[in-house]
């Protein structure tokens, strides 16, 4: 749709009006898809039935459709921002929580709670998953220190291997403890079971988006590397610690709400980077908006493709996301080759 706007970097002054265009487009898409998301589903909820005062329809809207739509928007926006923050911290465009072992660590945390404290409230599960996510981010950052920053492809490769190891451990214990089914639930992201009282944890993710927004300039400076950051008087370690928390909380809260949603944190910031660059203050509304639109669209597809059945959202996101990501990699001018 906006192919030319995405690839034209040689004439920045001319992309300005186009940027405004694309920005408006994202805004409109967000509203349209959100409204559509409210009215798509097995039971009939239509604007007409609401106006007619249909109590069942109103209940369904409040108890299920609104929570689902809100959860999808918040999860999409926050996961994309987790990817953006991670990319600034690592100074590498090819990382996000699910390709660096963070999501796998958080999943392991979920398994641990089920085994050790089966009756634990969801908030407790999320807390443990967050703690594991923190460990995962820390481990990744630690390991990656041994890899030169300029080894663009090696960094995500190390992350994927890390995730593979942790994922294998998780699967092993899930298998031994007969919990493979639960594991399957988390690893297949879906908003089908989201309803009132069961989705509120995504607000933690939303809070982290606010944190990222406030600290946007600091994350931009971090993206210049430790030497520039120090020269500019930034407390490098503290900002890295804040970023680690942002990533872990977002990963864990989306994981307990919907399960794993791959590629999103990779694709969205990369597309936005092509359009407006990496100044976080400038790009963060774009990343949030496009992330929300992307997941909303995928969720609607997941609900309608085999109507009245739903297919897992992660399948749709995975297919579209992987395709987009390949395009980003192979695109002329990509710095991966």
């Amino acid at each position: 749709m906006t192919d030319t706007a995405l690839t034209r970097t040689d004439a920045p002054t001319r992309t300005r009006p186009r940027r405004a265009w694309v920005g408006a487009l994202i805004g409109v898409a967000l509203v349209v898809l959100a409204v559509a998301s409210l009215f798509i589903g097995v039971s009939d909820v239509t604007p007409a039935s609401l106006i007619a005062g249909d109590a069942d329809a109103a209940f369904l809207l409040v108890a299920s459709r609104v929570p689902r739509t809100v959860a999808v928007i918040l999860a999409g926006a926050s996961l994309a921002i987790a990817g953006l923050i991670m990319q600034m911290m690592v100074r590498n465009k090819f990382v996000e929580p699910s390709t660096t072992g963070v999501t796998e660590f958080a999943t392991l945390g979920m398994l641990v709670t089920i085994v050790l404290w089966p009756g634990m409230a969801v908030v407790g599960k999320m807390g443990v998953a967050t703690a594991f996510g923190l460990v995962g981010t820390w481990v990744f950052l630690r390991v990656i220190r041994a890899v030169p920053v300029r080894q663009l492809v090696l960094v995500p490769l190390v992350g994927v291997m890390l995730g593979g190891i942790v994922g294998a451990v998780t699967t092993f214990f899930a298998y031994r403890l007969d919990l493979l089914q639960s594991l399957g639930q988390w690893s297949q992201g879906s908003f089908a079971t989201v309803m009132q009282g069961r989705y509120e944890f995504v607000w933690f993710a939303a809070a982290m988006v606010v944190v990222a927004w406030i600290a946007a300039d600091r994350f931009s400076v971090i993206g210049l590397g430790e030497e520039f950051a120090t020269n500019l008087g930034l407390n490098y370690r503290r900002v890295m610690a804040i970023g680690t928390c942002v990533i872990a909380v977002i990963t864990a809260s989306v994981l307990v709400t919907a399960g794993m949603i791959p590629f999103l944190g990779l694709v969205v910031p990369n597309i936005v980077s092509l359009m407006v660059g990496d100044n976080v203050r400038r790009s963060i509304p774009w990343v949030a908006g496009l992330g929300a639109v992307f997941v909303l669209a995928c969720d609607i597809i997941a609900r309608t493709v085999r109507f009245p059945y739903e297919i897992p959202l992660s399948v749709i996101v995975g297919v579209i996301g992987a395709g987009l990501f390949l395009w980003l990699l192979l695109r002329k001018g990509s710095r991966a080759h």
Partner: protein, 252 residues
């Protein structure tokens, strides 16, 4: 004043800085010379609080670098490192704007914007302000980095080999700019150079390092002598007077 007091920094068995005591910043432009591996960049790292010295102290205007808040130092001292690699897609204007970070913390005032415009203007970057850094030539990028350091508006400016990647015209331009920074903006510049003649032409004082030690420290006329130069570089260097200025010949 930047004062190093018995500073030692070791990497494994090699002492990158070996008990260095040195006061910098008494004149407008100080050139730091020395062969590769002499410890010039390490000296900048220690002064710029990027690495901690194993022994000794560094003070800037009497304040110990190790104990002064980093955000305070950032308004006194700006360091441009030798190899700058920025992966993020930033425009020239973005980069220069980050130079104001120590003052603005992200919220730009009118004064901040003023500094940004002046820096862009001063380095002829006005036409390139919306270009991404990865779309610039090496020289243009180097100028963008210098503009960032300028916008930081610090009393002390440390530049590590700023002439890297530059052609002759831009080398001269940057050196002239460094001179102006000292003469017109009242800055104190310490610059690592490789070319003895650039140093002799533009600096007020020349400090030479070798194997982590200060081996020469003099004004231009005291430095540009065959015996001094031969000592530093371990090879014969002739010095001629051309138009009343000393020029070193070391191409033989």
């Amino acid at each position: 004043m930047i004062a190093l007091d018995h500073v030692t920094k070791r990497y494994g068995n090699t002492a990158a800085l070996d008990d260095v005591s040195l006061t910098l910043g008494d004149v407008g432009v100080t050139a730091l010379l020395g062969p590769n591996g002499a410890g010039k960049s390490t000296l900048f790292s220690v002064v710029g609080r990027l690495v901690q010295a194993d022994a000794g102290t560094v003070t800037i205007d009497g304040r110990d670098v190790a104990e002064t808040p980093s955000s305070d130092l950032a308004r006194t001292l700006a360091v441009l490192r030798q190899d700058n690699h920025i992966a993020a897609r930033l425009t020239v204007h973005d980069l220069v704007e980050f130079g104001r970070f120590p003052h603005s913390k992200g919220r730009l005032t009118v004064e901040d914007r003023d500094h940004i415009e002046r820096a862009l203007d001063y380095l002829d970057l006005e036409p390139l302000r919306d270009r991404f850094l990865d779309e610039l030539s090496g020289g243009q990028r180097q100028r963008a980095f210098v503009a960032m350091i300028l916008a930081q508006d610090t009393r002390y400016v440390l530049l590590d080999e700023p002439l890297n990647n530059l052609d002759l015209r831009h080398m001269t331009e940057i050196m002239r700019l460094i001179r102006q920074l000292a003469d017109e903006w009242g800055k104190t510049v310490i610059v690592v150079l490789h070319d003895i003649n650039f140093a002799a032409r533009y600096a007020d004082r020349i400090v030479a390092l070798r194997d982590g030690r200060v081996v020469a420290d003099a004004d231009v006329s005291g430095f540009m002598r065959p015996d001094v130069l031969a000592d530093i570089y371990d090879s014969p260097v002739e010095v001629h007077q051309i138009d009343g200025k000393p020029v070193a010949l070391y191409y033989e």
